[in-house]
Symmetry: D2
Subunit: 297 residues, 4 copies
């Protein structure tokens, strides 16, 4: 029915196309979708599906080679909509392998996640453009300069939040940004801001959610005496630290670890977990439904 965020720029000769679909479960869905591809001479190189048996929802990710595909890339969306998506009331996205997503990074003062992201992009590990960094502090500008990326300082106070967020949104539009990563950005975005980018804002929270939401989770973890700490990456929703979880990981700690040790060990976790979330997002491996994620691997 609705193409949630189908790509609008069409590739000349993309290598492959990926469909992400969810809809009410019914018999024959896989058969009809794979038949659509096979009939048009597409060679499936990835297929995974999942059924939420409790809620009777069907999820699918299918990727196929376009080389000898009978439908031109520019027409696939239309034809899929008519033949399958509308008749079967599907939510769907269509992506092409040669798209390069454009990511903005929001930071405050901590550099580790930003450094890790930029190193991955710059070394070619990720095929992602990062044209824009936004911060409420000037501290990390030297890093942006080092990588040649525009850096805007927009300090947030209780009084100027609305205007600054308007400015942020203008920047996101001007730089043609596809999605935003909060790389230890220490400000809470307003619901209005968040509503404009559904499932397009990824946060890293430095705890094993739902344990220790909010501020100073390492201090809380220390005080509680946990033997494991974690990090959680999730899509941002208007409820703080409560959006759909994309990735989590943990590391063992002991009584020898001070709060500073937890912060140090946690940094590595944060980098890793955020990187996995960004990878899965840009590889079109995530479907979000009912505040949970399906991560196709």
């Amino acid at each position: 029915m609705q193409a949630d965020n189908a790509s609008t720029t069409l590739p000349s000769t993309p290598h492959s196309a990926t469909l992400l679909i969810h809809c009410q479960d019914r018999q024959g869905l896989v058969s009809r979708i794979t038949d659509f591809i096979a009939r048009n001479n597409g060679n499936i190189i990835y297929l995974d599906q999942h059924v939420d048996a409790q809620k009777q929802v069907f999820f699918m990710r299918v990727e196929w080679e376009l080389e000898s595909f009978a439908i031109p890339a520019a027409d696939i969306a239309d034809q899929f909509r008519q033949e399958l998506a509308e008749p079967l009331a599907m939510h769907w996205q269509l992506h092409f392998s040669d798209e390069t997503p454009r990511m903005a990074v929001f930071v405050s003062k901590l550099p580790h996640c930003l450094f890790d992201i930029l190193a991955r992009c710059q070394s070619g590990e990720w095929n992602i453009d990062v044209p824009l960094i936004v911060s409420n502090h000037p501290d990390l500008k030297p890093i942006a300069d080092r990588f040649g990326i525009d850096y805007y300082v927009l300090p947030i106070t209780p009084n100027n939040k609305q205007e600054q967020e308007a400015e942020q949104r203008a920047l996101l539009a001007r730089y043609n940004i596809d999605f935003v990563v909060l790389a230890r950005y220490m400000q809470i975005l307003s619901p209005e801001f968040i509503d404009h980018y559904p499932e397009r804002i990824i946060n890293i929270h430095h705890s094993f959610l739902p344990a220790f939401p909010g501020a100073k989770p390492y201090h809380s973890a220390y005080a509680r005496g946990v033997k494991i700490i974690g990090a959680t990456s999730h899509y941002v929703t208007s409820e703080l630290d409560a959006g759909p979880i994309i990735a989590q990981d943990v590391v063992h700690v002991s009584h020898r670890d001070s709060v500073e040790d937890l912060v140090r060990k946690g940094r590595d976790l944060e980098k890793l977990v955020l990187a996995r979330a960004i990878w899965n997002h840009t590889q079109r491996k995530i479907l979000s439904y009912d505040n949970r994620t399906v991560i196709f691997d």
Copy 2:
């Protein structure tokens, strides 16, 4: 073409059927298989497929409900063979959800894996029958007695191996055993024995294979000063500790750990890893190809 080990006892009203398939990859396989099920009114509750792009091999596991399926359970194998398996030269297995696999356990003197297996079966965690335990030592007979399971002592010497293995095979036949688990059985089975049970003998090796194959891996791990030890469960082939790996896991160790500590920590790993392998095997989640396994999860 060939039903590797299709079940011969047919259920009256099984809940679901599972097909495990592998064959040369070609366009339209998923479409044709799912169409076979959908056309006959089967509701797919699990589908996963994998393509080994390098070797051009297609793997699939599909499970569907039989309640309103148009083909009687007893006829599914024949019809699938004629319509799809033979024309497409598939290797395939068909299983029904109400089968209870019959497992024999081979042990020597160490009780931890045996205890764990029997506890899982006896508490109903697993739907597996264990009618037979075979050992080269009498030590664990009290445990078998405690659980009311027949226990045979067949000591192996360099001279009697052939006869004792003949006796073991006679027992496996008499007890109608589907597969064998070597739960820290300290004897090497002959190639003849192994050939009779392809992908039906599961071993637990107490190292992170291919590191430390053969005898005394914990001593070797200690001597090498590794910081992590592991356990590996695999199908037994005629090459020692070199069969297709089903499951592996590890635990961190330190300089404080003596060989005895490694043995102690390793015991828990061995239990867990062997249990995962048995679970996956009896849930029909494993396809083995070219000495590697596909584990559908």
Copy 3:
């Protein structure tokens, strides 16, 4: 100053003695304690110390061989008290290596932790006596019978809790129990009960605390869409699921896992984490302070 729970039964020829000490930090503590042992010809085989720099508390575990120790085992406690513990206002415990702790297990209907505990004791992996199992249900009596252990059914209702707990405490006294393990015991003990066994009741909670305390944590974890589930073993205090944490571990899960899968995967975690806590407790490796634990390893 106070010997928290120094052993009263004195061994004839124990192999080693262990001191667990905590007190206000000050210069020279390690030197004075190790000098006490060295001067009396004791050979230290384990020494670890920890200083909580924030709270200025000193923790130490030291174990030494008694073979040629100048002070008879029966007099060590007195002499240590006079020379060091009283002058330095220490909290301390003295243990001997030949003590066999006596453990009671409380269960409800789930067998996996009980089976695991009994298998470890029966196979000689642990040197622990389990003379007593208490339950609010008769379901697991067959397991107790199988292992030849007395099993008492004391059903708890809102009206009879006080009497039943009195009966439980009478049993613990009669069986000369050192510590209690709640192996998925589904009742909340009263503060009066708990106060009688400080740091002597070990619980296993089936979540990664402080996430998901209380009832049905696997259901909550599923609803929240976490990518990792955990288990936590802790000393029981009067605040529910909030006592000092002894051990935690986790396992990765995915959208494919139903609540039933979480329960299944969690069972293995619960067994492992509870077993580690019991091991550390009986090896005298735990010091608890300010609702946190120091685990000497």
Copy 4:
């Protein structure tokens, strides 16, 4: 007896001193060493010891505050040598907390470990100077330039190895380098080179050693069908990939992972494991003995 690599530049007012000691085990060692510190008014802030019971070797790390220590920093080494090290035939190192180690990084073409190291140094996470990068390829010079670090290209051929290593050693001397990190440096150093820097060259190997030593471990891991891959950091000795292991970690993989996926997942492991090794080395937490390491934590 011998101060293996006691620091020669003496600090004016270092915060703390650290002794790393190993020697034959005997009674009273801890007592004598801690008495030396306590008697001179030093406040111990870290003490850990370990005895290799099998080989009768004693290991210790002790750190104490120098603020009111009776012996001037410049005289501690002499006095410790006379009072304890010589009489007790100790191997020992003395370090001061205000030393900043100087590290050279050797690379080939892969940037991920180099980027990670430089980000940690530049952001102040590590207190390490990196004045020198050496490579057999020019590829990573732009990264060195970006961080303002001297980068030397010394291509290695079968014929020029001896001269190039002479040049490398001249550079290490000229830049006053304390230790070398091989951050995916694809050349094998000669025994002569290695002998000059005992326990001062740290390598990252992209497998779980001793599995898959040598070239192309990810390809070997894929071919063997392992379910877990690893990375290993170790001190370099003249035997390839066989030196004392400092740190290891692993990540789960599946049949879905191609060799390229293993390479991708392995990169994150390599970064983490190498970073942990560097951290432990520069925090003076490692003692190496008999091709094993003691890592004080």
